[in-house]
């Protein structure tokens, strides 16, 4: 059954070039655990070009996390930095990669504050 994490990495792989990470060169690996089993997702960023693989190769930053937590993070319900601070995920290596990775978690929105202020009641 597809879940948020699975869909997210599939989507990243299809995104191809992402200007949000254009100045990044490196690899980020997620060791995702669920029911005692570990799945690996490796994201390679090459000047903004994204490739996702499932092989446990070299990474500049390795993130170990429960699938439930990562599902929450990639779908925007949880914040990765907060999860790190409360020990719900562990990062090893270059944490700058994790900071940059956060940019990928939901696509840029075109909605402006002004539109929302006029549409959201009670402001």
């Amino acid at each position: 059954m597809a879940n948020a994490t699975e869909e997210f990495f599939d989507g990243l792989g299809r995104r191809g070039h992402e200007p949000l990470v254009a100045r990044v060169h490196g690899a980020l690996r997620f060791d995702v655990t669920q029911h005692g089993k570990t799945d690996v997702y490796r994201l390679i960023i090459d000047g903004g070009h994204l490739t996702v693989s499932r092989d446990p190769g070299h990474a500049d930053c390795v993130i170990r996390v429960d699938r439930a937590v990562l599902d929450g993070i990639v779908s925007g319900r949880m914040n990765a930095m907060a999860a790190l601070l409360r020990g719900a995920l562990a990062a090893e290596g270059d944490p700058e990669m994790m900071v940059i990775f956060q940019r990928l978690m939901s696509p840029p929105t075109r909605e402006t504050q002004r539109e929302r202020i006029t549409t959201v009641a009670g402001w």
Binding site: R23, N79, M81, A82, A90, P95, E96, Q113
Partner: protein, 694 residues
Amino acid sequence: MTKEVRILDGNTFVVSDDAGDVTASPTEPTGLFSYDTRFLSTWALTIDGKRLTTLSVDDLQYFETRFFLVPDTGSIYVNATLSVIRQRTVESGFTERLTIMNHDDKVVDLSVRIEAGTDFADMFEVKDALAKKGKTYTRIEHGRLTFGYERETFRRETAISSTATADVDEKGLSFTVHIQPHKEWTTILRVEAMMVGPDGKPVLPRHADDSDGPSNMLAELDGWLSGAPRLECDWEPLQETYRRSLVDLAALRFAPRVTGGKHSLPAAGLPWFMTMFGRDSILTSLQALPFNADLAATTLRVLADWQGSRVDDFRDEDPGRILHEMRYGETVAFEERPHSPYYGNADATPLFVVLLDEYERWSGDTELVRELEYEVRAALAWIDDYADLMGNGYISYQRRNEETGLENQCWKDSWDSIAYRDGRLPGFPRATCELQGYAYDAKVRGARLAREFWNDPAYADKLESQAADLKRRFNRDFWVRDGKYFALALDADGSQVDALTSNIGHLLWSGIVDRTKAKAVVGHLMGPRLWSGWGVRTMAEGDGRYNPIGYHVGTVWPFDNSFIAWGLRRYGYKAEAARVAAGILEAATFFDGRLPEAFGGYERSLTKFPVQYPTACSPQAWSTGAPLLFLRTMLGLDPVGDQLVVDPVLPSGFGQLELLDIPGRWGVRDAFGRSRNEAPARANVAGSANAASR
């Protein structure tokens, strides 16, 4: 109340009394803090059950203090035969070398005890006195006392150990001490503050080159000091203030672990703001540019990494927005507070562009300008696409996080800082004037970057025409006709929020003021309602909210004045700039060269000395940076192409001023100035009127 003693290293600091003891109440910001968590709230030394008396305190380094103590003999006629020295060094927790000397001819047997305890309070909890939600535990193993706090996966631990054998119980360490005549006893106490992640590993990865103990810290400080320009000045207090500024700035540098801890940037100040702060880091980096450009480079890189990329109402995040504040405590970890990071400010984003341009002008680092092209374009786009809440072409702000977000998203962020002349408070959104100045400056500077480095003249033209249009509209819409100054803000109806404030000085700095209006603005800044004699008040005397000890409604802020002086200089008012510099630098002499965040707006002739604002942070990064910017302003330092232009106008009484080995794209250069001692201050002002009209 005993004097507070503060030592720090990056995001870890200790605040104790002058005996070195900590006995904190839940709402008192004393103890050992690391990453926004209090790891010790009790740390008290007794000998034979009695606390000690302080003889003296030596601040050895910003990260090291020595306390000289004696037992209280109860009478001045009885000499103490024991001396006690506590030498404390902060480094990911602290190390305390405790030495007891026996000056007597007899052997002494003593019962020495360190009482220890902690509440693991989050900095926000100390501010707001919130109750804890998790469980605490205490462990004793191998002579080591560990306090722990756990809430779900969140774990923080304080581990206390000693080189001398101790009797450890749950409330501290006891030593049975036997000292021969004229001998001494020593133990080294180690307190470690740990953010424990899964598998017991540290939450934030440590880098090998990160904080390697006092000897490296000392070598690093020496390197920092020797890399800065050398100052020679006939007016001696300036030398002390300059050195104090450099050392405090070193202390306030903070290598954010989450970006690898490899580079450092200025944090905001003690005790509440020892953390990453967009606005403060940018403004401090600007102040320090002529002295150390690396701070700016790191600030730019880190803020770019964290630049907003989506709409998140809880964090007031938008694409392109530069962060306001990063925090590391429990309330942030559980998303009860939005500071992971929080984005609710309206000025850091344009100021980010201003800093990159100014940094390039000094350093010639075109590589960084190219590297950050995407982020700078995103920041400039934020001004138009996300910050124009009222659709009138001005940046305004209104928080979307109504519970824990910031109401005022400009530097004057207290609740009553933005007010009409008669004291009423406007609704939201609010478009404060300095934000428009920053936006104007960002567009002008962004155009230069686009034209010179990104090969995009069409984008440069667009930015320049937007800037020209903004300037024209601003000079019409914000100009208070009956007062001849710029309104503090526009309210939600587009009406003027018409208090007279120091913000008009920032407008000069940004260059948004029409030349024809500058003279009236300067007249206000140096006039009796704003000018206290020490500096420019945040709000003018006579306005409804004015209060000489109101945080943003009457006090004098050294940082504010440093940018005002830069603005005066930009419009040719060199003597006025020198007067502002002189006022604040003279005030600094009352604080041993360490300028507080703010001091009272009382008339100088009334109090004779600057009255410190009661809860002001000290040291505080942008106050520490103020003397540096004043030096730049007084010497008239400005990069033009690959040259450093020097055009000094000094306050009278300063004599000769030399700043040697100023680093930049020119290599190093010296600057000299001499004040016109023969001429009274008034003659200087007249002289500058000519300069203004050039």
